[in-house]
Symmetry: C2
């Protein structure tokens, strides 16, 4: 990774040109920097909402007839579509009222001026490292996308934000930054795609007098080499997973991840969370696809060895470093396994009479290992309502009629009751669509044992994409006093059902004591299945109109749910979202004392959050 | 793991009874113990050779006609079989001479009396922990099965051996031992199956004045629970893998490892090496099948969490602990993933015109992911000779004739030359033998692209079992001045061939400068294949008759080979055998400085070797 100076300069120039050609960026709200000429070259997050999830061009709205629709043209099956069943469902479930709105604050309010450590600045500046003290850069780097963070942004309740943002362009620049931070007592917060959901990007407020710097890795996004013989790619850690995936597909390869899910994530961010939001049933766990890495730590640069090449190394496995969420160091480079891209996809979906039966079905699918699938999911009755609310078909007399017939068939013939019915979906990837469709029969055979009824490929596909677009719905609901959030967990097969029940019960009870009316929406979804168990994502929402402090209530719900997960022998994260600051306490509780000691020893210097 | 006192007592009683009924054990050479009544209850390694590999009942011999045969009835395809082609091949390759023998010393020679730390003894004795100071226990625990160790045993060159052996019966007893060792400055060496190949069980000689204790885990071999719903078994770490596998098969399950390969290994030993000698192409890497563990460290007991149950935990992955080979602590309990046992097996073997072509074939098999196989191997031309030397068929006129035809066919029709020809074999496991045999056609299609010719299922099976029985041949050869050893490595696909050539060249050269005649035997075998590369085992042998110090030459060969592996960007172990004391220096060299610091920090107390 020897810095190619001229190419870095070229890249900087390109960014600058793009910037000058972009109307919107010509008038940044305020540039309060020590070196404007430098930071002007950097555009970050300018196409994303400053106080909401995702792209500026994509929002939910109600049209004049009260039909929900989404803007933009970014996402197939979603952008510029109408969702006829969404409003009635939201009115019923969360009692939203189109006339009672709670809009977000439209502009950034004045922020405190940055706390600048001049020794640190003088140490990194001569190295040509890009740095910005601009308010909008600092603000956009001071939060992730959790509901609490977005809520605070919408209401102007800014907590402390980073004092500066740095954009290293090489491994050596990261080393310079980390060394300087250590020497001059500056706190560093590594920043990847900015889509962290567990408060990892929040700055500590209390007792923190040091300058805090956000270390944005996205300028380091080069593909360093693609090795087709040994099937791996070496890439800088700041590359956006989705961009890397697009490049790889040109060559017939894939990372094997569900790249669409990771629209903002950098590969370094994914690795540091050992995030499993991937097609792991096909391609294995993410962490096992990391065959080498470079990580800058306070003690120096760590790597498996000089060699990316051999498939398994001698001695201990350094996967301990993954999942530490940037607290031990900054990943700058990764060698990642690649797979041949399978261009055909087919979804199979099946209704089940109960969540219990759906679970038995999924367990058999994964443990018996008969069908080669990429991903399998299950939504409970509440989750199924949500999937149905995202139906984009315009109701016609014919479709309404066929819906009635379908309901009658499911209820009378198949004994599936609307209030209890669940939906499972399986994603198949391969080279031959006929072969993939052929699996449907095998899946149906297993499904039938548990009262399953095949429900069509479109519905399966919708089930998968709905979960990806929920953050947009979450922000939309905030406009109508409805607050929603999510929480992930894992459990062994024998515990899944009881854990789901207990968590739902706990959330329902705490909402009741907090005076929330109507009772909250709580959906459970199985996202990933293993031989030994499954991961579960809870999605919950409630009407906050009569609450004084909705965020404390949200926090209370989360705490109660986390305690219930631990009590039910679950694990408090599936590493999809991570631990972060949000689940810190209960994570520590679930570790044995020597494990905590090992981690503390590895850390040595408390300078990276 | 609360100690069940009465069952432990019952077990002790059974061991005692067995001991009293066993003629051979009634007259141990010498019992020099502080508490004979206790240690009398313990029989360890009594059915194994004291100065060679494996069981006493299994040895190679030449009969009066000079035909090699093996004794015993333990191993199918091997025990009590004649190997007609073995002697001629050994005579030609290693110039062994039936009349020039170098027999092993038959009896244990007087050893130094043990260095007893009485405070340590007084701390563990009242807890009912079994301890022995008997010479044969100490000796049998003071070595593994590497050629150097066996050679020293055969010639009475004992290095320092442990001063005592302890057999804990529970996690709590291990905690007591480790605490006492720490408090009273005693060195501990964890002992599993005793089949370590890299000197892990050797005692350090220089500057080590402390009492050294071997901690034999094999009394802790209970299956604590079998969870069929969540597909895992919880077992004490001292259980022999093969015994556990037998129990699991009664219930229709398997560990998914090649248990026969692990005839002496404990599951704790395997985990501490993260040994990959398993059917990993079917069931994944061993380390990923560890879903929870307990490890006693100087800092206390470490475990993933209180929960074995959830499939993936939050935060970092503690697989770092596996592969540390007992240096960080003693594993006492493991929760291991299990699989449904596939009762049918089928081997496919294919000749290839060169090692190069065989490698291309294996790479395509693993990367294209078309066939579901358990294991795949490739032997080079020298390895093929070795496989052929293990032919157990008695030569008849008919068989000789068909052999001639076969050779003609391979040479003239298929252009396969005897001196360059290699053999690949693939093991298929499943439920339906017809289906498995059906894969042969697919494999043949891929093989043909690289000039492959199907060679029959029997030959494939022989290729797999030969490697398992080589340690018996190794000992047999020592009787005739022929010294052989093995070394494993990994490399990326693009490096395998050059690494193999370089290592062979280096060994050949060093043998030449050491005056070894004839030139050494060197065989290379691909054992495991990954998307990104493969593991290689080198087996080499030479005639030592005119050498003054054969062990130094053996060490020199090894050093030269290890350097060549590192130079060729290989990794110096596939974790099948591990690093141990044998490869310590070159392992350290291949780590980055912060990684060494992390390991040293984790260790904290240098008391476990």
């Amino acid at each position: 990774m020897s810095g190619n100076e001229s190419s870095a300069a070229h890249r900087r120039l390109n960014i600058l040109l793009n910037h000058l050609n972009n109307e919107e960026d010509n008038n940044p709200k305020e540039w309060r920097t020590l070196s404007p000429s430098q930071c002007l070259t950097i555009c970050t997050n300018r196409d994303r909402k400053w106080n909401g999830y995702g792209y500026k061009d994509t929002v939910f709205k109600f049209d004049e007839r009260g039909t929900a629709f989404s803007t933009g043209n970014r996402y197939p099956n979603f952008s510029s579509k109408e969702f006829h069943e969404l409003r009635p469902w939201l009115e019923q479930t969360l009692r939203i009222n189109l006339k009672t709105v709670c809009p977000a604050q439209p502009n950034i309010i004045e922020l405190a001026s940055p706390n600048v450590n001049h020794e640190f600045y003088d140490a990194i500046k001569p190295q040509g490292i890009m740095i910005s003290f601009a308010e909008q850069d600092r603000l956009s780097h001071g939060h992730g996308i959790s509901t609490a963070e977005i809520y605070r942004l919408r209401h102007g309740n800014f907590t402390r934000i980073p004092d500066a943002v740095v954009w290293p362009e090489s491994h050596e620049q990261v080393e310079t930054i980390v060394r300087a931070a250590l020497k001059f007592n500056v706190g560093c917060i590594p920043y990847g795609g900015g889509s962290n959901d567990v408060g990892a990007l929040e700055c500590p407020e209390e007792n923190e007098k040091r300058m805090l710097v956000s270390l944005d890795m996205r300028q380091m996004n080069r593909i360093l080499s693609l090795n087709r013989e040994n099937m791996y790619v070496v890439v800088e850690a700041g590359a956006i997973a989705q961009d890397l995936e697009k490049e790889l597909r040109k060559w017939g390869f894939t990372l094997g991840w569900d790249a669409e899910m990771l629209e903002f994530c950098t590969v370094g961010g994914i690795a540091s969370l050992r995030s499993n939001d991937i097609k792991r049933n096909m391609n294995g766990d993410l962490e096992h696809s990391i065959i080498n890495f470079k990580m800058v730590t306070p003690a120096g640069t760590m790597q498996r060895s000089g060699i990316h090449t051999s498939p398994i190394s001698s001695g201990p496995n350094f996967q301990l470093l993954f999942g530490t969420e940037g607290t031990l160091g900054v990943i700058t480079e990764l060698a990642l396994k690649i797979h041949f891209f399978a261009p055909r996809h087919y979804y199979v979906s099946i209704y089940f009479p109960s969540f219990h039966n759906g679970l038995l079905f999924l367990r058999e699918i994964v443990q018996k290992n008969i069908i080669k699938f990429s991903s399998a999911r299950l939504v409970d009755e509440a989750g199924l309502q949500l999937v149905n609310a995202f139906n984009t078909a315009t109701p016609t007399i014919k479709s309404v009629f066929s819906e009635v017939i379908k309901k009658y068939y499911l209820k009378k013939i198949k004994k599936l009751e609307a209030g209890k019915m669940c939906l499972a979906a399986i994603l198949l990837d391969g080279h031959d669509i006929v072969k993939l469709k052929g699996y449907e029969k095998k899946i149906d055979e297993i499904g039938k044992q548990y009262g399953g009824v095949i429900a069509g490929s479109d519905l399966g596909e919708r089930m998968f994409f709905v979960s990806k677009r929920l953050p947009y719905l979450r922000d939309f609901l905030l406009d109508y006093y409805a607050i929603s959030d999510r929480l992930d967990a894992t459990a062994s097969w024998s515990n899944v059902e009881v854990l789901v029940e207990k968590v739902k019960e706990a959330i329902t009870n705490v909402c009741k004591t907090q005076g929330i009316r109507p009772k909250p929406y709580i959906g459970a979804r199985i996202d990933h299945i293993y031989d030994t168990g499954a991961s579960i994502t809870f999605t919950y929402g409630f009407n906050s109109r009569n609450l004084n402090d909705p965020l404390s209530v949200l926090r209370l719900i989360e705490q109660v749910a986390l305690v219930e997960i631990l009590r039910s022998n679950g694990s408090v994260s599936h590493n999809t979202s991570g631990i972060g600051k949000r689940k810190k306490e209960c994570f520590r509780e679930s570790l044995s004392e020597p494990v905590v000691k090992v981690l503390e020893n590895m850390k040595q210097y408390v300078f990276i959050y």
